[in-house]
């Protein structure tokens, strides 16, 4: 009896490591993105593309070999186009615009150290195994290469989540997962560091989008391919009365005086460098040459 217990435990552990939980149905996501490409909603993509240009403008590097890693929309790649810079666009679906190749971001098809810049606009929020993806991206970067990515974060669409849950509870006595879990800003720096990135930085850009009503918001989400792709989610569409009740709750709780509703979107920005000896590093503990007391003044005599 005891022996079986012992042989089972390590096996379960290995399974947990090699197969991260499948939260997102990636094949379904590709179909959603293909549908979205027909009537795209791209204001977020353009906002993020402008930010990419701004954020890179502070770094005086040519970035001659850049990789667009899985951005659904080509806006970022178009905005970053520059003379002397080659941008390879790896798109996440067969129907994405101006693709050079199609990839699943969880399985990078790139050889080691081929790029000096990898960027990704609004794609990594749909990845099941973010640490695994970071490790693969780190390998595809040449030493001193930069990863810069924007993804949708945990404080996004909280109002929608609240209203759908409450409406479903009222009519169906329980809620099914509809709005997916997001990564928290606080976790990102640590994840980048674990993947071997130097100088990891994460920050967030809070955006409030206003809509006429819940249905206009849902139409935009569809246009971004962002409707429910949870592997464990309910595939059955929400009933009409639940949707109408959710729209009513949204209007009551999250609208401006002019009647338009607010949707919060949090864009998480993350960056990290492939390690290189030229980069700044903390000094070794105990290697200081000047005592701290000489900087602070000797307070022991007061």
């Amino acid at each position: 009896m005891r022996a079986t217990l012992f042989t089972r435990r390590p096996r379960a552990h290995i399974g947990a490591v090699t197969h991260p939980p499948q939260i997102f149905d990636r094949a379904l996501l590709r179909r959603r993105l293909a549908r979205a490409a027909r009537a795209p909603c791209d204001f977020l993509a353009h906002r993020v593309a402008e930010d990419f240009v701004y954020r890179l403008s502070g770094i005086s590097r040519p970035f001659a070999n850049a990789l667009d890693y899985g951005s659904p929309h080509p806006a970022a790649a178009q905005a970053l186009a520059a003379p002397g810079r080659k941008i390879l666009r790896a798109a996440p679906s067969l129907h994405a615009e101006s693709a050079d190749l199609v990839i699943d971001e969880e399985f990078s098809p790139f050889a080691p150290e081929k790029f000096d810049l990898v960027f990704s606009a609004l794609s990594l929020q749909w990845v099941n195994d973010l640490p695994g993806v970071f490790a693969q991206l780190r390998r595809s970067l040449a030493p001193d290469g930069l990863l810069l990515a924007a993804m949708v974060g945990g404080q996004s669409f909280v109002e929608l989540r609240h209203c759908l849950t409450q409406a479903q509870e009222e009519f169906e006595g329980g809620a099914s997962p509809r709005v997916f879990p997001f990564v928290d800003l606080r976790d990102l720096g640590g994840l980048l560091q674990r993947a071997g990135f130097a100088l990891p930085v994460a920050d967030c850009d809070a955006v409030v989008v206003r809509y006429d009503n819940l249905f206009a918001l849902l139409r935009d989400l569809r246009g971004m391919g962002a409707t429910n792709i949870l592997a464990a989610g309910a595939r059955r569409p929400l009933s009409r009365r639940v949707l109408l009740r959710a729209a009513e709750l949204y209007q009551q709780n999250f609208s401006d005086p002019d009647g338009r509703i607010r949707a919060s979107v949090e864009i998480l920005w993350l960056s990290g460098w492939a390690p290189h000896e030229s980069q700044q590093k903390p000094l070794r503990p105990g290697s200081a040459q000047i005592p701290l007391s000489s900087a602070l003044g000797d307070k022991s005599k007061i």
């Binding site: 101006s98 693709a99 190749l101 199609v102 699943d104 399985f107 990078s108 098809p109 050889a111």
Partner: protein, 71 residues
Amino acid sequence: MTEERKSVAAAAGIDPRLLEILVCPLTKTVLRYDAERNELVSLAARLAYPIRDGIPIMLPEEARRLEDDAA
């Protein structure tokens, strides 16, 4: 990509510079370009990734499984 660029790429099969930086997404091993079938073959994964309109589709679900005698 414009239609014109697409047709040029399709005629050439695959950009050799692109082939140089690609590996099998599952096994990270080298890929062999099969000009006849217009596929990228991963012997290690026993999969052939299709190239459609000059665009390599590096999705395992879209790849053709190699039979034992082929490749």
